[in-house]
Symmetry: C2
Subunit: 199 residues, 2 copies
DNA sequence: CCCTGTCCATACGCCTCCGTATGGAGGATT
DNA sequence: AATCCTCCATACGGAGGCGTATGGACAGGG
């Protein structure tokens, strides 16, 4: 979060995009507003309209940037760990853990912000792509684990829904979600239930 | 949805609250705006400021009304069905089903809208109460099913997170959620996983 | 030394929403 | 019939956001 303080030589479009993403995470799409962002960057609208044609252009850039960054993260969490079962457990533990704590610019904040304005013409396609990509990956893991195609998709959906809901709870009512050691063991049992294979 | 058309004798505060709740469900807290609501009700701000002192008063009324209505629903879904296991299954099936379909004023729309502005001073306490109440009930069901206190709470959290996430998915990317018969069997398997008791 | 291009500040008009002030229509009351 | 009370329409001022239109600062090349 390198923003707002210190005199900069000259702002770049990237700076604006980063600030927009930050605002998106902590205030929703409505917070991606030119004049407030300018103030938080210590500049004026004049700068913005030099780098971007439009507010929509900024939103589009922020969404693209998020989609990119997010994909990288998922891929990074996938790379190692050859065994499928432990890979799945690691992935679930990672995402379920990442989402609690910092309720401002936390990991899942952008998702939540976007869900709130899912019908927005720029948001909808981005959200659909990201969701489908994650769902496909989850499904493939369950498939490799021995589930049929249909059941793997079911489990993928359930796991992803649980993830989204968990993020929501951690964000809106953090006092109802375990913390510390309790969180860790809670996630353990959660993973146990989600990955149980009864035949 | 008795609104917007037909000449009414005189509007009541209830009419405004209903319209506000509707707007909240389909456009978030930001959509609970006096002038647009007036237009949709076929009247003007003059009417509103007669019945309410403030926009905040309207928001508070809508939230209270939602909390009330929601509680009634949950209770209604609980009443009959003596057997605990089938009661849990019925409840889950009901809420998971209710959330798909109509992506406008659907069942879970208010929840989603509120999550988006969970930090709002009027929203936060309402949301916390509702969430805790539902969670407590779910936990009690799992307890009656034979789980320990801690595990029951874990399952309650998981089930509720799954519900929230499912609602989110159904709302933002409905094309990724099964429909029709596929939805029914999907929910079956989902319930199976969520209510599995291995000892 | 001037000139050109980059980057930004300031000022403006427009729109939407909030909240207030004020007056008026129409039924109820006496 | 005159008056009062309920409910609403209209008009206003202010705040905040978008986008445009300029002009200026500052660097580098000629």
């Amino acid at each position: 979060m390198d923003m707002a303080i210190g005199k900069r030589e000259s702002l770049t479009a990237n700076d604006w995009t980063a600030a927009a993403l930050d605002a998106l995470a902590r205030g929703g799409l409505g917070a991606v507003a030119v004049e407030p962002l300018a103030k938080s960057l210590g500049t004026t609208k004049g700068s913005f309209y030099w780098h971007f044609t439009d507010r929509n252009a900024l939103i589009a850039a922020a969404l693209e940037r998020w989609e990119q960054r997010d994909t990288d993260r998922v891929i990074a969490a996938v790379d190692q760990t050859p065994d499928v079962a432990t890979r799945l457990r690691k992935l679930l533990r990672l995402v379920f853990t990442a989402v609690v704590g910092d309720p401002g610019a936390g990991a899942g904040s952008v998702e939540l912000a976007l869900q709130a304005t899912a019908t927005h013409p720029l948001v909808a396609p981005t959200l659909a792509r990201v969701t489908e990509r994650r769902l496909a990956y989850l499904t493939s893991l369950f498939t490799e684990l021995g589930l049929s195609q249909a059941r793997a998709r079911d489990r993928g959906l359930l796991a992803y829904a649980a993830f989204l809901g968990h993020a929501q709870l951690a964000h809106s009512t953090p006092q109802l979600v375990p913390a510390g050691r309790a969180l860790s063991s809670h996630i353990d049992r959660l993973i146990e239930t989600l990955t149980a294979i009864e035949d």
